[in-house]
C-alpha cells in the first residue's frame, strides 16, 4: 500500500459530558492512504458522520472529542496531530488540506451570496495575496471542472438545481487542491441518475488531481462500486474493514453480510432480500460484549460477554483486512 495521508488513532467522540454522555464514536482506528477512496458505511446513528465531523473538529456542541489522535501527513513536512492545532492553525488546515462535501446539497450554500462570492471567499481567506482577477479566474476554472458553465458565476444558489448546487460544492471543495476530501452522504438529496453522474465525475477528478476521499454513506452498493476499501461501522465502532471486492464477495462480519443482503444485485441469480432484524442500538445503553449480538443471527457464547477486538482474520486474504467478530478470532490485533 502507498503512504498514509490521514491516520485516525483511537478516536473517541461523545455527546454531552459526564454520566449522561453518549459515546458516538468508540476507539476508532482508520487509515486513509494517498489517492484511495475509503468508504464508510453503516446504519443511521452508527457514528459515521460524527467521525467525519470529529476528525475535522467541526462537532457542534455538545459534541466533544474525548480521546485519540488524527495524524495528518502533509505532502511536504512532518505529520502532525489535527486535534492539537491552535485555532489559527486549524483555520488554515481546514479546506486547504481537508475539504468536506456535506449531506444537504440544498442548504450548503449561503442563500444571500452569489456563487462567485462563496467560491472566492475561500481563496481570500487562505491565499490573501492572490489578486481579485486570479481569484475569479480560479473560481471559473473550478466551475468548468465540475461541468458548470462559468457564466453561472453570478447566479444565486436558488437559481441552480440540486445537482448543480452539489457540483458547485464539489468544485468549492477542490478549489484549494486539498489532499483529503470527505464526502458525507454527498448524493442523498439527489435522484439516482444525478448520483451516478456526480460520483462518476468525482472519481474521474480524483484520478486527475490525486486527492484521497473518505466517502460516507449508508448505501453499500454505491461504495462497492466507487471505493477501494470499505469500513463498516456499527454502534460507534468499526466492525470490519476490507478491500471493496472482498467485502462484496465475502464479508466476514454478520452485520456486513446483513447490509449486503439488504439491497438487490443487478446481475447474477435471484435471491431473497433479507434485512437486518431489530433496530440500531441505543448509544446510551449499549449491549454488553459485541454491540451487534442481540441482532446477530450467528451469536454464540462469547458474544454477550466480551467485546471483540478489531484484528486480522485467519482467512487467506487476512493480511489485507480486519474484522471484529468472535466468529473470526483475531490472530494479531491491530491498533
Amino acid at each position: 500500500m502507498t503512504q498514509p495521508v490521514l491516520e485516525i488513532r483511537n478516536l473517541n467522540v461523545e455527546y454531552g459530558l459526564g454520566e449522561q454522555a453518549v459515546r458516538a464514536v468508540r476507539d476508532v482506528n482508520l487509515t486513509l492512504h494517498r489517492g484511495e477512496v475509503l468508504g464508510l458505511a453503516g446504519e443511521s446513528g452508527s457514528g459515521k458522520s460524527t467521525l467525519a465531523y470529529g476528525l475535522t473538529r467541526l462537532l457542534a456542541p455538545p459534541g466533544v472529542i474525548t480521546g485519540g489522535q488524527v495524524v495528518y501527513h502533509p505532502e511536504k513536512g512532518d505529520p502532525y496531530d489535527v486535534l492539537g492545532l491552535s485555532d489559527r492553525e486549524l483555520r488554515s488546515f481546514r479546506w486547504a488540506e481537508t475539504a468536506i462535501v456535506f449531506q444537504g446539497a440544498m442548504n450548503s450554500l449561503n442563500p444571500v451570496h452569489k456563487i462567485s462570492t462563496q467560491l472566492t471567499d475561500v481563496l481570500r481567506a487562505h491565499e490573501p495575496t492572490m489578486s481579485e482577477h486570479s481569484r475569479n479566474a480560479r473560481a471559473r476554472e473550478m466551475l468548468k471542472l465540475v461541468g458548470i458553465s462559468p457564466d453561472r458565476m453570478d447566479a444565486y444558489p436558488h437559481q441552480l438545481s440540486g445537482g448543480m448546487r452539489q457540483r458547485v460544492m464539489i468544485g468549492m471543495a477542490l478549489i484549494l487542491q486539498p489532499q483529503v476530501v470527505i464526502m458525507d452522504e454527498p448524493t442523498t438529496a439527489l435522484d439516482v441518475v444525478m448520483q451516478r453522474q456526480i460520483l462518476g465525475q468525482l472519481i474521474e477528478l480524483r484520478e486527475r488531481l490525486g486527492f484521497s476521499v473518505i466517502f460516507i454513506t449508508h448505501d453499500l452498493s454505491l461504495l462497492v462500486e466507487f471505493s477501494n476499501r470499505i469500513a463498516i461501522m456499527y454502534g460507534g465502532r468499526i466492525v470490519e474493514e476490507a478491500p471493496a471486492g472482498s467485502i462484496y464477495r465475502d464479508a466476514l462480519h454478520p452485520y456486513s453480510k446483513g447490509l449486503l443482503g439488504s439491497f438487490p444485485a443487478l446481475r447474477g441469480p435471484r435471491r431473497e432480500l433479507t434485512g437486518i432484524p431489530g433496530s440500531p442500538p441505543d448509544l446510551k445503553g449499549m449491549p454488553t460484549g459485541c454491540s451487534f449480538h442481540p441482532r446477530c443471527p450467528k451469536a454464540f457464547d462469547p458474544c454477550a460477554g466480551n467485546i471483540p477486538v478489531l484484528g486480522r482474520p485467519g482467512t487467506p486474504d487476512g493480511s489485507a483486512r480486519t474484522v471484529a467478530c468472535w466468529l473470526h478470532p483475531t490472530e494479531q490485533p491491530v491498533g
Binding site: 488546515f93 456535506f102 444537504g104 450548503s108 450554500l109 444565486y156
Partner: protein
Amino acid sequence: MKYFLQRLAFYLFTAWAAITLNFFIPRMIPGDPVQALVTKYQGQLSSKAIESLYVLFGLDKEAGIWDEYVSYWKQLLSGDLGLSFTFFPTPVSEIISESLPWTLLLVGITTVISFFLGTGLGVLAGWRRGSWTDGLLPVTTFLSSVPYFWLGIIAIYLLTGPDSFFPSSGGFDSGLVPAWDQYFVPSAIQHSLLPALTILISSVSGWILSMRNMMVTVSSEDYITVAHAKGLSDRRVALSYAARNALLPNVSGFALSLGFIVGGTLLVEIVFSYPGVGFALFQALGASDYPLMQGVFLIITISVLVANLLADIAYLLLDPRTRKEG
C-alpha cells in the same frame, strides 16, 4: 422592476382605501363637531354663524355624500385638511406641520439608534451564546415587556424635580421661541433626552431578542458549518454568513416600526407633554376635533404605507430570492 410596480400599485390602492375610510368613519360616529363647537362657545354663536360652520366643516345637509366625498378629495389634493377647532381657526395642516418635526426627530432618531444598537447586540448575543451575554436575556425580556409610557412615568418620578437636569415636560424651555439658535437647540435636546431614553430602553430589548433568536436559528444551518469548514475567520462567518441571513426578518420589522414613528409613541408624548403629533392627536381626541384627528390619521396611514414600501425595497436589495427574473 415589474414586481416593484406591482407593489406600488398595491400601495396606491391601499392608500385610496385608507383615505376613503378616513372620510367615512368620522361621519358614522354619532355626535357632530359643530355641536361640540357650539358648546365650546357656550351659546355665543348666532344661528347664521352655526350654519356657516356646517358649510365650513363640509357638514351642510344639502350636499349629498358623494359631493362631500369629491370635495374632500379636492381639498386633500390641494393640501387642505380643514380647520382644527381645538385651535380654531388654525388649519389642520399647519398644526401637523408644526408638530410633525418634533415627533420625527425624537422618535425617528431613537428608533434608528435602537434598531442598530439592538441588532448589533443581538448578533453578538446570538453568536456567543452560552457566554456571559446569555445573562442579558432575562433583563431584555423584562424590559421589552414593560410598556414605555410606564417607564416614562417612573423616569419622571425618579429623575425629574426642581433641581434636576432633566425637565419633566414640554419640548423646550417655555421662555424660548423655536429657532435654530444656540439657546433653543440645546434646550430642545435637553428636553428630548428623557423621552428618548425611555423609548430606547424599552424598544432596544425587542431588537436584541429577535436578532439573537434568529442568529441561533441560522447558526444551525448547513451553510454555517460549511463556512466553518472552509476555514473562514470567525468574524466573517458570523457577519457575512450568519448575521446576513438572520437580519432579514429584523429588517422588515424595522421598516414597519418606521411607519409607527409618527403615531406609535402617543403615550410617551402624552406622559412628557411633548409637542409632537401624538400629543396633538391626544388633544384632538379630548375635544372631538374631527378634522385634526382625520389629518393625523391620514399622516399615520401614509407613513405606514411608505414604510411598508421601504420594507419591500429593502427586502429586494437584501434577499436575492425575492427578486424575480426578467
